[in-house]
Symmetry: C2
Subunit: 177 residues, 2 copies
């Protein structure tokens, strides 16, 4: 049971949209993923196939205004393929692409209701960022996205220890010049 | 009646979200603009203020995987400030930022129902891209975004004539190596 992991292409968009809501357990997700991610960030986004059938995808990008940072926007795995290690393989592909482009850290946010996603990111070596509230012991940033969309924020180093906040601020201020 | 145009910052996000749906005439738009655009693309995104009050904003980015392309994702102007030339000023700021980063063309999509937006882009020198349907004589790409979200696609050169399709394909294929 091996997966083919390749770069995402614009042609994948209709299929991904057609499966998304089902893959997220009926939550209406498709409108949160505009086509632009399949057009302008394909070199750090991936599709996974098994026997020619879409098994998962990841869309991510290199931060344009925060040097050294990469961001994972959406990751989906066919419910029938869960537990196969595919999520881990998609993340590994993204980490390698981000590191090859000089990134030292990866950020991702998830929903507090998505306990599987929270547990997955903890297993993948992500650290929880602080929030302004707590849900079941997990720090949550309330009203983070859109109208009151609470989010759990994660960060992961690509090179051992995370850079200090001071080093991050310095890199941002250098880039703004 | 002059506007201050400055780079967008993460701190602008809650205010923009709070006004968006009203600025779009009651259409629920806020969920289409996640915070990531206010964190990772601030060097090509702008806020406009008059007397310290938010009058408009533009979020855009440089395409990561299509060399020479820039993309405008969301532009909003306070209804009370329309007709003032602010949209034109925001676009000019974006064009200058994109050109300074080596871009030769800008893409944008809008909704077929948004006739003001279509007319604005035509006045700003954008050309209509072909579609697979027509609405009131305007070419429309059906099912472009999300579930059946029809879109009108625009393209504008930053340096006189648009590059040929062949030159665009060549640039993409070079970058993919």
């Amino acid at each position: 049971m091996t997966f083919q992991i390749r770069r995402l292409s614009t042609a994948d968009y209709p299929l991904v949209i057609s499966v998304m809501d089902q893959w997220w357990g009926g939550r209406p997700m498709a409108d949160k993923l505009p086509r632009l991610f399949f057009e302008h960030f394909t070199d750090t986004s991936f599709a996974a196939e098994r026997d020619g059938k879409l098994a998962g995808f990841l869309t991510g990008f290199i931060s344009q205004s925060r040097p050294g940072e990469a961001y994972i926007h959406f990751v989906g795995v066919d419910p029938a393929e869960r537990g196969s290690g595919l999520g881990r393989q998609l993340y590994a592909a993204f980490f390698a692409a981000a590191e090859a482009r000089g990134c030292v850290l990866v950020r991702v946010v998830t929903s507090p209701v998505n306990r599987d996603s929270i547990a997955f990111h903890q297993r993948m070596g992500f650290q929880l960022e602080s929030g302004d509230a707590q849900v079941d012991g997990i720090p949550v940033s309330s009203g983070y996205d859109g109208h009151g969309g609470d989010r759990v924020r994660f960060i992961r180093s690509l090179r051992g220890a995370l850079p200090t906040r001071r080093a991050q601020r310095r890199a941002i201020s250098m880039a703004a010049r």
